[in-house]
């Protein structure tokens, strides 16, 4: 192992990637775009559900109820429907996600102490939004009932159980706080795997890899020289993402930075190893791109718990997720960034990450070194 030789390969690699718009775009453009998308555009925080109201009563009580819905900011009233309106058409056209139907005589019945049935029709297509909206509506109705009771002078508690919900680490339950740490794992995996795989295969295609092999460069030196620059660039990307998370989205790292760095390093080494492994299998850049995207992107999005909870998956898929490093990295990252925990809380996850990195690197080394002979 000669540091000098490794450095010369690494420097060449840096020069090349600086001149290649595609890899530059991938290393810088894709993370920026993803960050903007996840930071600003996409989230699961349901607010302003489009609500149409069919108020068949038009009493003071019914108006008060509608006002309670609108004032909650969970619902926006988008239409005031006449009796017998075509609700199907309305929901099919997606003009309203929910329709509240207040029956005729609701105010009178309430005053008379009767129970009034309120129909809430929900567009269930987007099940997540519908479930959340249903929860909001239940809470609003419960609150309205409670108010009526206290107005009636009754000392009776409507909810006989004093429910005290507490949310730790993310009190407002903002999905951005959940998505951004996961995004780091996804971006690093994608850029590290693709950039290494493509850069090695590019040399294969041009025959420069063979050129390098006839020099005294050892396989290990080659591998180190080719991966070190991308390791550096990826770490830099991590810093940039963290800075953006802090200053744009107000997500600060509450755990120790050193632990964050260590976890990221181990994860990245595994990712770069995976890139090398892909490069040892693919013969063309197009193949490397496809294979790299397949093994890095799909698992990192769908099988890592980044967006979709692993617990909700079928058993067989859950087992597969054990082989996805992003799964462990996401747990550690959320812990260190959001929960203020250190690595000592995640010995099992860290052990898996180290094991993965060693296994993948070892496999890549064996494959690349064998070809040298």
């Amino acid at each position: 192992m000669s540091p000098r030789k490794i450095w010369s390969v690494a420097w060449k690699e840096l020069l090349q990637s600086a001149r290649d718009p595609l890899s530059l775009g991938m290393l810088l453009g894709v993370p920026c775009m993803m960050l903007l998308l996840y930071g600003y555009a996409v989230n699961f925080d349901v607010r302003h559900v489009a609500l149409a109201v069919e108020d068949n009563d038009k009493s003071a009580a019914s108006r008060e109820l509608v006002a309670a819905f609108v004032n909650s900011t969970y619902f926006d009233q988008v239409a005031d429907l006449p009796a017998g309106a075509d609700l199907r058409r309305l929901t099919e056209r997606r003009q309203a996600r929910a329709v509240l139907v207040i029956p005729e005589g609701a105010g009178r019945d309430l005053a008379a102490g009767r129970t009034v049935g309120l129909q809430l029709i929900l567009d269930g297509v987007d099940s997540n939004t519908a479930t959340t909206a249903l929860g909001y509506a239940s809470a609003l109705i419960a609150a309205a009932n409670g108010e009526r009771l206290s107005e009636a002078g009754g000392k009776v508690q409507l909810t006989p159980i004093d429910f005290e919900p507490r949310v730790w680490y993310n009190p407002e339950l903002k999905s951005t706080r959940f998505l951004v740490p996961g995004l780091i794992g996804f971006i690093l995996m994608l850029t590290a795997v693709l950039s290494t795989a493509i850069s090695v295969v590019r040399e294969k295609e041009r025959g420069t890899l063979e050129q390098l092999r006839v020099t005294s460069l050892k396989a290990g030196e080659m591998i180190l020289g080719k991966t070190l620059p991308y390791l550096g660039i990826s770490l830099l990307a991590t810093v940039l993402i963290l800075a953006a998370a802090r200053f744009l989205f107000g997500i600060a790292v509450s755990g120790p930075y050193l632990h964050l760095f260590l976890a990221t390093l181990v994860y990245l080494i595994g990712a770069l190893g995976l890139g090398l492994l892909v490069s040892s299998i693919a013969d063309t850049q197009a193949m490397a791109f496809q294979a790299g995207a397949l093994v890095s992107m799909l698992p990192a999005i769908f099988l890592s718990g980044f967006i979709f909870p692993i617990r909700s998956m079928p058993r067989a898929l859950q087992i597969i997720t054990y082989a996805v490093p992003a799964r462990y990295f996401n747990v550690v990252l959320r812990g260190v960034i959001l929960k203020g925990a250190g690595l000592e809380s995640y010995p099992r996850d860290m052990a898996f990450l180290v094991l993965y990195a060693l296994a993948v690197l070892g496999l890549a080394y064996v494959r690349l070194a064998r070809k040298e002979a």
């Binding site: 991938m26 102490g113 987007d126 909810t159 919900p165 099988l303 979709f308 909700s312 929960k339």
Partner: protein
Amino acid sequence: MHELLAVIVKEFLQLRQDKKMIPAMIIGPLVQLLALGYAANLDVAHVPMVLVDQDRSPASRALVERFTGAGTFDLVGAEDGPDAVDPWLVEGRAQIALVIAPGYGEAVAAGRPPRVQVIADGTDANSSGLGLGYAAQILAGAGAEMAASRRVPGMALARTGRYELVPRVWYNPDLKSRWFYVPAVLAMVLMLVTMILPSMAVVREKEIGTLEQLSVTPLRSWQLILGKLTPFLVMGMLDMLLVTGLITGLFHVPLRGSLLLLAFLTFLFLLTTLGLGLLVSTLVRTQQQAMGLCIFVLMVPMIYLSGLIFPVENMPRGFQIASYAIPVRYYANVLRGIFLKGSGLDILWPEALALLGIGLTVLTLASLRFRKSLE
């Protein structure tokens, strides 16, 4: 007509010969379908729960049973005091902690409101939010039963009128998120087959020089464009049938509307994707650049900002307005409208018009650019 046919026949022969194209057309869609069908699931179930029961009375045990009996919460451990909950949540062994304070049973017996605390790990905002909602429902149910059995304060309840919420969920009564995600696969598959692949096929002719060879023949540029795109149109329509079959057969998502209408509106959507593929091919020099541009500049933003996965309604106003320019937005409406709502053209005509308009515009622009790029 004869020249056009020659191009189409050649394109099909090439597709048949290409060892990489076929897997891309079959395995790609299949993997996406399985991933979205099985993995993409926001439904909350089996939330790991740690219990702190400081009361240890029959009443507290009954409450715990209500939590564990529903299938939403799985009891994974118990601690003596609320302070011991911390590591469970930090390490992610539990997502929710149920804390029943001492004196719960006494309070229930005395008719006083007992206190129950539920602590949720907020890092997974979505499932914790839904989990808290379920917890609230369980507690409300328990409370209502208690009130009914106590009878004493029930007097007041009987005299005061109250609302009762009668929810009706249409189109997806069991609120399965799979029903929301699975039809989206069709849009993704079609983008892959009719946007990325044709753009690469055109760029390949550039790379090997046959495009120049063809441009010195009397072949008109419209014949060349139509000839190159038609096979992908056909493949796209076949993929639509295949994926629709899998969506309904494998994942049991209902197809409530007309397959014919779906085919027609898919055709309109393909005008756009084919046009975008052609447009990309005029902007790049290598197949790889074509793929990179298609995936990262077109497909990813279009998937994210169209409501295909993340609802448009949750986005900031600016992004919502921008989404009107994204053809996938209309196609997403079409898919969910036809599959789940059984909508017809009387409902979906605005989408049809938007797809037609965008499709023709993109295709025309792409064709003009392509013609220019030949010269």
